[in-house]
């Protein structure tokens, strides 16, 4: 595609430099404590305190490696395929959020062991987890907020001649509307929330309760969407009102209906970034609407009757540029 990826410097700073610096700082802090720490250190906690032990390196490596690999992957995606601000935002939020989370886990789990002769005496893991979840969330959201939103990129070019079109008279107005929800997501999500709640009670790690609340909120925001096509363009909105994706009519290059495969194209379900930097609201397998937007951006929404939606969107977009 000839469209350049915008904001590469900012993307590199936010999605690669910041998270790697966070992880490096956490590693440096952990290493500086080497003399104060017991050997071996506690690296795993069960219901009754620490139950897994290892060298200091084994407390650092998994966090550092997971964080760096995720950040590099997210950066590569945003750097080469981040034409839509949503793509860059999701990549940046994930990268910084996970780095902050892992850094806190690394430092927090070691902080309580300083000055101990034997790591068996290390305290509980709950407070560390609580801080890590909050830090990951806050920093991830903050980094995502720093990603620059796409400027409007209207086009006056006619819609692709071969794109499907609804026959629409000059004096006609039309609206297409459809709700899409995912029963599997609801079932799996509810089971996950319940499992975390049960784990919270069993381990008495009350910080896990926060995780359950966050999971439940995420579930509510991802389980059902309303999609509307009208004179203003495409509007896809979660039942909670967020997330919400809008494609103004003057940024539509063409729309098509096609079959969508969530796992292989997007690696799962929800509001996601998929192959080629596509953003997707992907709740299930099957019929989906794919909108090619100016700037080389592509949005995919899984929804029934996508053929009608695509035909109407093309017809409306074309009519608005016919003058």
């Amino acid at each position: 595609m000839s469209n350049p990826v915008p904001d590469r410097l900012r993307t590199t700073l936010l999605t690669l430099v910041v998270p790697v610096a966070l992880l490096a700082a956490a590693t440096a802090v952990a290493l500086s404590w080497a003399d104060d720490l017991p050997d071996p250190v506690a690296v795993h906690w069960g219901t009754d305190g620490p139950d897994g032990f290892g060298s200091l390196a084994s407390a650092i490596w998994p966090m550092l490696l997971t964080g760096v690999v995720t950040s590099v992957g997210a950066w590569a995606l945003a750097f080469w395929a981040g034409r839509a601000s949503a793509t860059r935002r999701i990549a940046t939020g994930t990268s910084v959020g996970l780095a902050a989370f892992l850094g806190c886990i690394m430092v927090g789990s070691l902080a309580g062991q300083r000055g101990l002769a034997d790591a068996v005496d290390a305290g509980g893991f709950g407070p560390t987890l609580l801080v890590a979840v909050i830090a990951g969330l806050v920093l991830g959201v903050a980094a995502a907020a720093l990603v620059r939103t796409d400027r409007p990129q209207p086009t006056t070019a006619r819609v692709d001649r071969d794109a499907p079109r609804l026959d629409l008279g000059d004096s006609e107005r039309a609206v297409w509307r459809r709700s899409v929800h995912s029963r599997p997501t609801l079932v799996v999500g509810t089971v996950a929330v319940l499992a975390v709640l049960v784990a919270t009670v069993l381990t008495r790690m009350w910080a896990l309760g926060l995780l359950a609340v966050l999971l439940a909120a995420l579930l509510c925001s991802m389980v059902a969407f309303d999609a509307t096509v009208d004179e203003r363009g495409l509007d896809v909105r979660s039942l909670l009102g967020w997330p919400r994706v809008r494609v103004p009519l003057d940024e539509v290059e063409r729309a098509v209906a096609r079959q969508v495969e969530p796992i292989s194209e997007f690696g799962g379900w929800g509001y996601r970034v998929g192959r080629g930097g596509r953003t997707g609201i992907v709740l299930r397998k099957g019929d989906g609407l794919e909108v090619h937007r100016t700037g080389g951006r592509i949005l995919v929404v899984t929804v029934d009757d996508a053929a009608t939606a695509a035909a109407l969107l093309n017809a409306l977009a074309d009519r608005s540029r016919a003058v």
């Binding site: 609804l166 629409l168 008279g169 004096s171 006609e172 107005r173 039309a174 609206v175 297409w176 509307r177 459809r178 709700s179 509307t228 009208d230 004179e231 203003r232 009757d305 009608t308 109407l312």
Partner: protein, 115 residues
């Protein structure tokens, strides 16, 4: 669901909206329990007055096609299966074509009979 209105048609806009919802429901394209767009959203989408949509929704409610619930908006009502009616209409259409009766005459007869 796809709704379209024609501003150059002599048929009032609220009736155009209403009759399309009716046929979508009758054909089974809008299942019982389906939420219709909020009147305000639909009015914005079609660039018509809010009262036009509200009038259409009220007529639909009066005929038992939809239910208007506070807080939940307009929901398609549970209606009996119309298959028998569709079969009968097919027969009427076939008979009218056989006998070369023009559509306007058939419509007039139907309207007379429904009165």
């Amino acid at each position: 669901m796809l709704l379209r209105i024609d501003t150059s048609s002599p048929e009032p806009l609220f009736e155009q909206i209403g009759s399309q919802v009716r046929s979508l429901v009758a054909r089974g394209d809008l299942a019982a329990g389906t939420r219709l767009p909020a009147a305000r959203d639909l009015a914005t989408s079609l660039d018509v007055n809010l009262h036009t949509v509200l009038r259409a929704y009220q007529d639909l409610r009066d005929d038992g096609v939809i239910e208007l619930r506070r807080g939940r908006g307009a929901v398609v009502a549970d209606v009996p299966d119309h298959a028998r009616l569709h079969a009968a209409i097919d027969q009427v259409v076939a008979a009218a074509r056989d006998l070369d009766v023009p559509p306007a005459t058939t419509m007039a007869l139907l309207k007379e009979a429904l009165r």
